[in-house]
């Protein structure tokens, strides 16, 4: 018995050491990022002999944010992310509700169509989707056939629209709603509620957990978007924070402290969300098993 205990203590120490070591290795790049953001240019060029900044230069953050129109970039990103989260929750949960609770012709076929779409990566269809954005009829100077103008190019909607129809969101809402007792619907029907009222008064309040998970995932996904804004925006004024950070690298090649400071600023909202809502995050990702 004693030797077993000793054995257990030893394996505990080993496991703990390995686990801490792995986490330190994973976090190491972030540590370097923070330290570099607080250093002077001279300290950075000294390498390991100046691993920690002598006096942390918090002014680097101010300087970094003054290089470029960051206020505008943040507004662009917040607008895109906010609209994408809200609209995607509304349209995907409406469809999920219909698939979970209503009967209509073609239901199975339509559902499978949407699910097959889930397997299709956006990168494969980025060219035709870009053309759909550019050739959307009657906007951005386009005529009825989508010719003549720029459509939604350089428009928030050009980034938001391709991101909001989310087959996996429909699937998840459907699964969640199917778990609700059917008697609730029946009771509400007898009380004279229309399907829309049932959805608004019963399903939305009871679906909060699934909306929180989906909203969180969509928020992170949209905030971190690089490819769509890159394709849709060619006006620097429309830059999202991600595009702006990449442009910042190009304009301030060797000023690593400012680049790292800017990097910290743009990942901070996500990290704060992550730390505060960690449980939902991990739950959401584990139960959905999907990133976006």
């Amino acid at each position: 018995m004693k030797s077993y205990r000793l054995h257990q203590t030893w394996s505990r120490v080993w496991m703990k050491t390995i686990f801490i070591l792995v986490s330190v290795i994973v976090v190491f790049p972030f540590i370097i990022m923070v330290l570099t953001a607080l250093k002077s240019n001279q300290e950075i060029s000294q390498g390991l002999s100046a691993f920690f900044p002598e006096t942390p230069l918090f002014s680097n953050f101010v300087t970094a944010m003054q290089k470029g129109n960051w206020g505008r970039y943040f507004i662009n990103t917040i607008m895109i992310t906010g609209f994408a989260v809200i609209i995607s929750l509304v349209i995907n949960s409406l469809a999920g509700y219909a698939f979970a609770r209503m009967r209509f012709a073609g239901k199975t076929i339509l559902f499978y169509c949407a699910m097959v779409g889930m397997m299709l990566p956006m990168q494969v269809i980025m060219i035709p989707v870009f053309l759909q954005i550019k050739e959307l009829p009657l906007v951005g100077g386009n005529d009825f056939f989508g010719n003549g103008g720029i459509g939604l190019v350089n428009n928030y909607a050009g980034v938001i629209l391709p991101l909001i129809a989310h087959p996996f969101g429909v699937f998840l809402c459907r699964q969640f709603f199917m778990g609700f007792p059917k008697e609730l619907d029946e009771a509400a029907k007898i009380d004279g509620c229309s399907p829309l009222q049932i959805y608004l008064k019963l399903y939305i309040p009871m679906g909060i957990p699934i909306f929180a998970t989906l909203g969180l995932l969509k928020f992170v996904d949209t905030w971190n978007q690089y490819t769509w804004p890159l394709l849709v925006f060619n006006d620097p004024e429309m830059n999202t924070v991600q595009l702006a950070l990449n442009a910042f690298k190009g304009e301030n090649v060797t000023e690593w402290n400012y680049l790292m400071a800017a990097t910290i600023v743009i990942i901070l909202p996500i990290l704060v969300l992550f730390v505060c809502l960690q449980r939902y995050f991990v739950q959401g990702i584990a139960t959905t098993g999907m990133k976006d």
């Binding site: 703990k16 686990f19 370097i32 570099t36 009967r103 060219i127 989707v129 870009f130």
Partner: protein
């Protein structure tokens, strides 16, 4: 009254179409139509400014002679294999450690998962600095051991491995979380039975854990395969496909051909090749899981 209700619930709700309309409008416009459009465009010489001309299989014939595209296929395959396998193996090992009731792992798990939620742009900035030839930490460490400095991202032989290492680093946390939820779903009494039979920890892992985890593994494998085949962002940000096209990938070639050279028809043909690869992966995976189920 009762009868009417019953009939109502058996009949069709026409209003359902209004509920699914917003989703399907967007879905059709941004997924369904493009999926066919990309195939049609791959047979044309469309260049964004003039009208499309049908040119048959000309684009596909050119693809076979396009060294950059062939190189991008090779790079993408290398990236996929060398990123995916280590990520899966390490993710599983760390998950197995984290699943042990012996140690508390909450904070460490948070830290390991962190790279997954940070954007690819931000992560690329950090790693560009780590790999930097003059001030980067990797070169500082090399110097510490008296080794010569290296031009990591500029070195044709090192650039792709550099991207692979970053890819593994970013992917481990996600794999850990998914594996962990898979491990947690294995009933405890399997392990108790194995213990009673005197099975060693290693034996238990290969005979019980791994087989029972196969749905999780195949899920991570297929999503990982599809994700790696679509690798683009870090390539465009960190190396722009260079040096000497040694890091260019299929999606990067699609982007370059489509959006900087406006050869949209040609880039569509590349997209179709990628689409076919992804369909093959999906079908193989589907067949394999079906066989297992039978």
């Amino acid at each position: 009254m009762k009868r009417k209700l019953k009939l109502g619930s058996l009949g069709y709700d026409k209003v359902a179409y209004l509920f699914i309309l917003p989703f399907f409008l967007i879905f059709t416009y941004f997924y369904f139509i493009p999926a066919f459009q990309v195939i049609l465009d791959s047979f044309t010489d469309y260049d964004l400014f003039t009208t499309r001309n049908y040119i048959g299989l000309e684009n596909y014939r050119s693809l076979l002679e396009d060294d950059k595209f062939l190189q991008s296929m090779i790079n993408t395959f290398i990236y996929t294999i060398f990123t995916l396998i280590p990520t899966l193996v390490l993710g599983l090992l760390i998950a197995a450690l984290a699943n042990s009731t012996l140690i508390k792992t909450k904070i460490c798990r948070t830290l390991i998962f962190m790279p997954h939620v940070v954007s690819m742009v931000a992560v690329s900035m950090i790693w560009i600095f780590l790999y930097d030839s003059t001030n980067g930490i990797f070169n500082a460490i090399l110097q510490l051991f008296g080794l010569p400095k290296s031009d990591f991202l500029m070195d044709p032989n090192l650039a792709l491995p550099c991207l692979i290492i970053m890819g593994i680093w970013k992917g481990i946390g996600y794999n850990m979380v998914i594996f962990l939820s898979g491990l947690k779903s294995i009933p405890e009494h399997y392990y108790e039975a194995a213990k009673l039979d005197g099975s060693s920890a290693v034996n238990t892992f290969f005979k019980i854990t791994l087989p029972l985890l196969s749905p999780t593994t195949s899920f991570l494998l297929i999503t990982g395969l599809i994700g790696s085949f679509n690798v683009f962002e870090q390539v465009n940000i960190m190396t722009n496909g260079g040096p000497l096209y040694r890091t260019t990938t299929i999606v990067h070639q699609i982007y370059i051909n489509g959006f900087s050279q406006y050869k949209l028809g040609y880039a569509s043909a590349m997209s179709v090749v990628l689409l076919i690869i992804i369909i093959i992966i999906t079908v193989i995976n589907f067949k394999l899981t079906q066989e297992k189920g039978a």
